[in-house]
């Protein structure tokens, strides 16, 4: 393997790697703080209340987050009107809708073929965003670092984050378009960093025993497709975006796992689900789009496949990416005897398509 050019330092590297992060050519402090914030958000235990403003509306929500034994539990509950809740306990995802007397649950097994991995800022990002110098300031009597990242073109959004200097949790974040219009704002009104949270913190606040229980069934094990596996690729992408991950995802309404491609420009990420049997917008709704705060969902019929695009990007970006999805047959047809591993990446060996300007999802082995 190419990365193992040196021999005896490997064990040292193993040690060191645990202590070190990956490599950013830019040592920009602002980006460093964004990374710190991301780490804190996914790895720490906290409870808080925040105000979520978007589209002229605002809503108070409570959040609990816990990582215990590698299992992530989180709960977001609306403190206003509806009292709706989103709860995740490991693989179990629950939507509690008291206003409809309904509980929707779904099992989302962690997918070995697609690791949860958030975008990593790197030198490419520098050409796409302007990162303002880090400002040390105060926000509601806390010492914070203000990081501001402004997009250079309309294919992506900008972010401002007020990051607590001690806990690294964001006390406030804003999402804005490339004209500076603030589209979304999340402002914490209270936040507690905790050593642990009890299981009860992840139970619904209301008694759901009388609720209608709706269970979205996970897809059955993969069915060997008659056509054999296909490799999905893109012809061209909005500037700065590239294919970063390939995997498969179980989505409701599809009998087998569907290919899931992830594109990123280092900050924003876009998921493309291909070959969805049942369009989430409803029948005949190809070409529909929906903005959900920071996220855009777009559904299209491309090359005979129903494609669903979700990402924290403007609609135009989602639309453009969707339009570029192409199927490419692998060089060797699938043998009937070789079972398709459900956990195997969708593209075992990405066929080289010289015209494709995107990089393959993984570094190509020599």
């Amino acid at each position: 393997m190419r990365f193992l050019v040196c021999g005896s330092w490997r064990q040292a590297l193993g040690v060191v790697l645990v202590a070190c992060g990956p490599l950013l050519a830019s040592a920009d402090e602002g980006l460093e703080w964004i990374e710190r914030m991301n780490q804190a958000l996914v790895s720490r235990n906290y409870s808080g209340t925040f105000l979520h403003e978007r589209g002229g509306q605002s809503e108070s929500l409570q959040v609990h987050h816990r990582v215990r034994g590698g299992q992530i539990s989180e709960r977001l509950a609306s403190l206003d009107g509806s009292g709706r809740e989103f709860i995740r306990r490991g693989e179990e995802v629950i939507y509690v809708l008291p206003d409809q007397q309904r509980l929707i649950s779904e099992r989302r097994p962690r997918n070995a073929s697609l690791l949860p991995r958030f975008p990593q800022l790197d030198e490419r990002s520098a050409g796409l965003y302007v990162v303002s110098p880090l400002t040390r300031t105060r926000l509601t009597a806390r010492d914070v670092r203000l990081v501001s990242i402004t997009p250079r073109d309309p294919f992506r959004y900008g972010y401002r984050a007020w990051i607590d200097s001690r806990t690294h949790l964001p006390l406030k974040t804003e999402l804005f378009d490339n004209e500076g219009n603030v589209l979304e704002r999340v402002t914490f009104t209270s936040l507690s960093l905790l050593r642990d949270l009890p299981d009860e913190a992840f139970n619904p606040a209301v008694d759901t025993s009388a609720f209608q229980q709706v269970r979205l069934e996970p897809p059955r094990p993969r069915i060997q497709r008659v056509t054999g596996p296909q490799v999905w690729n893109v012809q061209s992408l909005p500037r700065g975006f590239r294919l970063t991950q390939r995997g498969e995802q179980s989505v409701p309404g599809s009998e087998s796992r569907v290919p899931h491609l992830v594109f990123s420009d280092g900050l924003a990420s876009v998921s493309v689900f291909i070959g969805v049997d049942q369009p989430p917008f409803g029948p005949g709704e190809a070409g529909r789009e929906r903005r959900m705060g920071a996220s855009t969902a777009y559904s299209a019929f491309v090359n005979g496949q129903h494609v669903v695009v979700v990402g924290e990007v403007p609609v135009r970006t989602a639309r453009l990416i969707a339009s570029q999805i192409r199927a490419a047959r692998p060089a060797a047809p699938a043998e009937p005897g070789s079972p398709a591993e459900p956990s195997a990446p969708a593209a075992p060996a990405a066929p080289s398509k010289p015209a494709v300007p995107t990089q393959p999802a993984s570094p190509v082995e020599p």
Partner: protein, 246 residues
């Protein structure tokens, strides 16, 4: 090129497998000795990648690594070389050696390292490493934000683990004027300019796609993404669910 830059570039080359053996030794040794250099790399995403990774084949390496780090190790050629798992396609090259480090077992250990890094700002607040068994004092730090009371940010030694539902009055309309980090004017997030897109609640199925995507999206927007999936609009209708469609 400053000395630091040079080190950084060496380190980078090493992970990329482009550094000659002799220099690799040197860099690895320097890293193991130089907490400053190590710390400068410590805040990036690798640890996050580990924390979020699927458990890979567990090995006994994690405790070994932990012990080694605790003792501020030098390079020990006699130590057992890490077991290099077959590289998953989706991992960047630099992450590979870690996949041999028994991620499942190493998870807690990694967290420990991270928090306990010398000079890490976390140490001031959370020197007490949140190891799995220490749950005695659940609250590490509480940030109570009340615009009317500027001194409200408090450190509390011990308090109930879960914040009660009684939340402080939210800041509606604008944060305290005293905050110097504010933009000069406060602009309410504008209504969705795409008025053609009706503000109907998400179908449950679309929420599933959003949830699936959230695993690979930036954590900082996750709260808003998920809360958007729960939002209710005036034109509330029954969400479509598979059970009803089939």
């Amino acid at each position: 090129m400053s000395e630091q830059d040079e080190r950084a570039s060496q380190l980078s080359a090493m992970f990329d497998g482009e550094l000659p053996d002799a220099e690799c030794e040197l860099v690895a040794r320097r890293l193991s000795r130089d907490p400053e250099l190590r710390r400068s790399w410590s805040n990036y995403g690798l640890i996050g990648a580990v924390l979020r990774s699927e458990p890979l084949a567990p090995t006994q390496l994690a405790p070994r690594v932990r012990a080694a780090l605790a003792n501020e190790p030098a390079v020990d050629p006699a130590a057992q070389p890490p077991q290099i798992a077959e590289r998953p396609l989706h991992l960047p090259r630099w992450a590979v050696p870690v996949s041999g480090v028994g991620v499942a077992a190493g998870l807690a250990a990694v967290a420990v390292f991270w928090w306990a890094m010398p000079g890490d700002p976390n140490v001031s607040t959370a020197t007490v490493v949140p190891s799995a068994q220490s749950v005695a004092a659940p609250l590490i730090e509480e940030i109570v934000i009340a615009p009317a009371a500027p001194a409200a940010a408090t450190m509390v030694a011990a308090a109930p683990a879960v914040a009660s539902a009684a939340a402080p009055a939210p800041v509606v309309g604008g944060p305290a004027a005293a905050t110097s980090g504010e933009p000069e004017s406060y602009v309410t997030p504008r209504p969705n300019p795409r008025s053609s897109a009706p503000a109907v609640p998400l179908p449950a199925q679309l929420a599933s796609f959003v949830e699936a995507h959230s695993a690979v999206s930036a954590p900082m927007i996750r709260h808003s993404v998920i809360s958007a999936t729960m939002a209710v609009s005036e034109a509330e209708t029954t969400p479509r669910v598979e059970a009803e469609d089939r």
